[in-house]
């Protein structure tokens, strides 16, 4: 059962692909609406070479990395600042939570105006989408530091800065990483989405460009590629986080 | 027709797992239940009683032997058999009356008719006035009564119950047991009760099937010669105690085997 079911699943999906191929070949489905799967698979190879997929992948990853650095560089200090004072935390943590829930990506035309048609806009949008989880998880992680560890630090006469660097921050790291993972997830979704919407950047832009060129097979192939890339990304993130959790 | 069995279990054997590493839950069980009879199946924990229950109810397949209900071989849940499960099984999102009317709803009975029908069974289990309540508002004992009423509403030829009072306290058990007996007598309901309680088996049954520890085989069938109705007088009579003692001597040996097995495994 353990092997049979997933194999069955894949087999039926392939069979569905075959049925689709037949339906398109016999014009039951118009090939101007959906290209035959065989063409899409062929296009996969084509776009990798002709459309510089590796370069685009690097570009999108670069935007992701920049956004990641930004949300860490801003998010962690803000989180620490909020954790500092109970009043500040109670006052503004709900605001940050609301920020996390707000569909800020809808304002992308505004960001276009503010930051121009450049990678900066994409990075900013990615950061805006991903910063809230980092802040929230930083606060949570710092708050969850076991009191006894802080007491140990105080009894050793550590200064505030040392206490933070040597006790609180390391204790909060797993939580911060979870926040980073969540933040990067939102960032990725928004970055690729915005690349598509404003026709600028790496992988997301590729889909839009191929669509505007009416390269149907290419568009489908590019979408498949992006789906595969994001699947890979999330699988990796999950594994890294699990590994981190285990080594606690 | 008197004399013809309502339920017939013939040489039922059930194995779980592979031929060499599996366990045999039930082995070569055979017994009959006559129409209108109340039969209990008793045995130590882990003897395969629940497996037997699921086999007779048609929810477990892949066994040797056969089970017949009125000359029809069971291949799945049979309309002539009504099951009452051990666990809490009322639908929490339905009121009492809608719970009881459930089997009638499945059959396509129109609403007014099935509510009328259901009301009769709600009254039978003594829950008149609680029709509109939801299970969350009721005690455990009351919820089990709803489950019993629901099963009875389907008017099964054979009522099959798997330790229905197991999760209830002693007093509720006794009261519900008496209630079930009352209903059974009233309806002449053929009943097969799975239980681990000796007193319950003796209180309610005409005959008691004693199972051995795993693999569950038929150890003995004990007829209960106590008069009906089983009044408090009967339940406190020396004959009652003697029957229980007789059962216990049988069961103790099996229970000890079960204990030894558990200690070995643990």
């Amino acid at each position: 059962m353990k092997v049979l079911a997933p194999a069955f699943g894949i087999a039926t999906l392939i069979a569905a692909g075959g049925a689709l191929q037949a339906a398109i070949a016999t014009d039951v489905i118009s090939r101007y609406v959906m290209p035959p799967p065989s063409q899409v698979i062929a296009a996969l190879g084509r776009i990798v070479t002709e459309e510089h997929v590796p370069v685009r992948f690097l570009l999108t990853s670069g935007e992701m990395a920049a956004a990641g650095l930004l949300i860490l560089a801003v998010g962690v200090p803000v989180g620490w600042w909020l954790h500092h004072s109970a009043t500040l935390r109670r006052a503004f943590e709900p605001w940050v939570a609301a920020w996390a829930a707000a569909p800020l990506v809808l304002a992308y035309p505004l960001f276009l105006v503010l930051f121009g048609r450049s990678s900066l806009t994409i990075i900013v949008l990615g950061s805006v989408a991903g910063i809230a989880p980092v802040i929230l998880k930083t606060v949570e992680g710092l708050a969850a530091t076991r009191q006894v560890l802080i007491d140990v630090g105080r009894s050793l006469l550590l200064t505030r800065g040392q206490l933070f660097r040597k006790v609180q921050f390391p204790a909060a790291l797993p939580s911060i990483f979870t926040g980073l993972r969540l933040g990067l997830t939102f960032s990725l979704i928004n970055i690729v989405g915005v690349e598509f919407l404003i026709n600028l950047g790496g992988l997301g832009q590729l889909i839009n460009e191929l669509a505007e060129r009416y390269d149907l097979a290419g568009t489908y192939a590019a979408i498949c590629f992006v789906v595969l890339a994001s699947m890979l990304f999330f699988a990796v993130m999950e594994h890294v986080e699990q590994w981190l959790q285990r080594s606690r | 027709m008197r004399g013809r069995a309502a339920l017939s279990v013939e040489h039922v054997t059930k194995r779980f797992g592979s031929a060499d590493t599996g366990i045999t839950a039930v082995e070569d069980m055979s017994f009959h239940v006559a129409p209108g009879e109340f039969v209990s199946v008793i045995g130590p924990s882990g003897c395969g009683k629940s497996t037997l229950f699921h086999i007779i109810g048609g929810l477990t397949g892949d066994y040797q032997g056969r089970v017949t209900v009125e000359d029809e071989i069971i291949t799945g849940p049979h309309p002539a058999i009504g099951m009452v499960f051990q666990e809490e099984s009322t639908f929490p999102w339905r009121s009492v009356i809608d719970n009881v009317a459930f089997p009638l709803e499945l059959r396509g009975m129109p609403r007014a008719e099935r509510l009328e029908h259901a009301r009769h069974y709600v009254a039978l289990v003594g829950l008149t006035g609680f029709e509109r309540r939801h299970p969350a508002e009721l005690s455990g004992g009351m919820r089990q009564r709803v489950s019993i009423a629901r099963t009875l509403a389907a008017q099964p030829k054979i009522l099959l119950m798997d330790e229905p009072f197991a999760s209830l306290d002693e007093q509720t058990r006794l009261l519900l047991g008496t209630k079930v007996l009352q209903i059974q007598q009233q309806l002449h309901q053929t009943t097969l009760l799975i239980t681990h309680s000796l007193t319950e088996a003796v209180q309610l049954s005409d005959r008691i099937v004693v199972m051995t520890f795993r693999p569950g085989r038929l150890r003995r069938i004990v007829p209960v010669h106590l008069p009906r109705p089983r009044t408090d007088e009967v339940l406190t009579s020396p004959e009652f105690g003697a029957t229980v003692a007789e059962l216990w001597s049988d069961l103790r040996e099996e229970a000890n085997r079960g204990l030894a097995d558990a200690e070995q495994a643990g």
Binding site: M1, G9, A101, P103 | M83
Partner: protein, 253 residues
Amino acid sequence: MAATLTLSRGPARDVLRARLVGAVAILAAWQALASSGLLFRDVVPSLWHIAAALIATLVDRAFYTNLGVTGFEFAVAILLGGVVGTIVGLLLGSSRFLAAAYERWVHYLAPTPKIIFFPVLLLLFGADSGSKIAMGALSCGFPVAISVAAGGREVRPVLIRVGHSFRANAWQMATKIYLPAVREPLLNGLRLGFGVAAIGVLLAETKLSKAGIGFLVMDAYRRFDMPGMYALLILVILLVAAVNTAMIRLGRH
């Protein structure tokens, strides 16, 4: 007694004070930026212009017409996404085999940005409301399916056995047992679905449409009507946030 009273009042007042200070600081910084002339013209309009634009938008008939279009697309998207998501979720939740065969694909597809499927939806459903509804439904379907699948697995096995013991057929099992049993996870999934459906519909409208709030936003962008765009965005984000909050409140009840 008095001490505890002040203690419980103090912190609440401090929080309120902090928020007021924060809000004022943000608005003041905004206004300063707007009047500074540092950025190009209307890129950061003054608060007055934004306020004026808000009022102008709220009295504009065209706003409500377009809101109606978006609202309609959203409503149908939720219905479609909800129904399909529920069916998929019930199938995955009730059968361990189906779940083992297909659920991983649902999980892999769930976090990908759905807007990238828009070109396909355009081809399949046209440039009008069809593709927007499809976009919303596609976004909404995933959280519903995942939530219902998880809920389906949590249904107490004895309840399933009761259904089988009464020989309920598959349709009866689905509608009379599984569906009522997963009511809460379904609603939870729908709450998430609401948010992502709104985003999906609106983003699709910004990409290609002749009507709807997304269209209005892009229209303002193309005319460089910055105060107007700010007004629309504020209204949209407030609206979606309000819907989200309402759903959360409904969930608690």
